[in-house]
Amino acid sequence: MAIEPELKGYLEGIRYRLRLNPAAEKEIVRELYTHIEDRAQELKEAGLSQAEATKSATERFGRPEAIATEIYQVHSKGNWRAALLAAMPHLLIALLFALYLWHNSSWVVAVLISMLAISAYGWRHGRPSWFHTWLGYALVPIFIATLLSLYALGRALFYLLAGSGPETNLWILLAIFAYLPLSLWLLVSSITGVIRRDWLYGSLMALPLPAVACWLFALYRDGSLFESSEQYLQDQAPWVALSFFALAIGAATFIRLKQRLFKGGMLLTAEFLILIIVACADPSLLSSPVLVVAGLLLVTFLFSPALLEHKIKHGERDVWIDAGLGRWSEGGQVG
């Protein structure tokens, strides 16, 4: 039996707001669908037409927004284990600086590999809420390598057009051509995959980027981005550790909160804490106009995934319903 467009729209209205992992969303919407199906059947047997029965059944069921919000709040609050796991990558970075291990390449590589491995594990195991903080860090080296590849490519192109400059190694160019599509695909599919589920996870994932940007800005202002950055970081290591510790607390609290408003507020608080910590570390660094601009940029950056989510989710409705509801209405199982 075909599902009526009104019922499809109603269930999609719930699914859109659930913001859980896709498997959980399907399971929940399928359960709600069976309830409405039973009620509509009963009303039809009482003499109502198919359309009237469905309309009445959905009205009795309640507003999609309210139902989805209540279900979201049941599932959105993670346990303490999930909170600790979400805080862990920030704590690892904090420890690298607190114990002055950040210039020891073995430790840095070990942390990096653990982040990549745990992100891959989380992606393959239902993308639990805690995995987003690991994914954020795992994407940073890929992102930086992509930027460097683009820079090298641009430079080679410039020399080629100018007809002068150092000769470019063909093998390096070939490696860049092989790497760029792969890295761009990985970055875009990871980011859109996360934001498609819930833009708040996109913001959680991006949480360390403003911290990294703040400290890079600090190094740049010092005029020592490449010259004496080691000494600067050595001096500021306790503050850097403190800033990542603040992120760890922010991420753990985010996982433990139920309501979206508070979750968003927590991310914002963590980012402003970073600004305050950087300002305390080097008071001359952040004059008040810079502080205001940095604050505005942080807010824009943190909530930009919300705009992307709307764009990404738009137009997905029919594909999702055909893949799920269509099969359930025929009594089939959802894999």
Binding site: I28, T34, G331
Partner: protein, 111 residues
């Protein structure tokens, strides 16, 4: 008869556990059973049943499982767990004490 919905809200978990304790049930069946046993007194907004059921499941008091009906359709049945039985026992004791105390004040002439 009208009643304050907050009163029902506070007792939802106990009511659901009591019903599921008698036999495994799916959502629509629970709604019908609540209406039948309360003789139409309790009328849930049906969609709000599921957050309550999922909350119980998250606490480990019930467990949901898809089962096939004779008609070939599938429904998600909720079964009570040992932890749920224990919680229900406590809730029943709590309710007995609470209702007795409220009755003794609000209905002092009742036996």
């Amino acid at each position: 008869m009208r009643y304050d919905r907050e009163l029902l809200k506070g007792s939802t978990d106990s009511l659901l556990l009591s019903l599921i304790n008698r036999q495994p049930m799916y959502g629509y069946q629970i709604i019908k059973e609540l209406e039948r046993r309360s003789k139409g007194y309790f009328t849930f907004r049906e969609g709000t049943l599921y957050p309550a059921l999922h909350r119980l499941e998250k606490k480990g008091l019930v467990i949901g499982k898809w089962e096939r009906l004779a008609s070939g359709q599938e429904r998600r049945y909720y079964n009570i767990t040992e932890k749920g039985k224990h919680a229900l026992k406590e809730k029943v004791t709590e309710w007995r004490g609470f209702s007795k105390a409220v009755n003794s004040i609000m209905l002092p002439e009742s036996p």
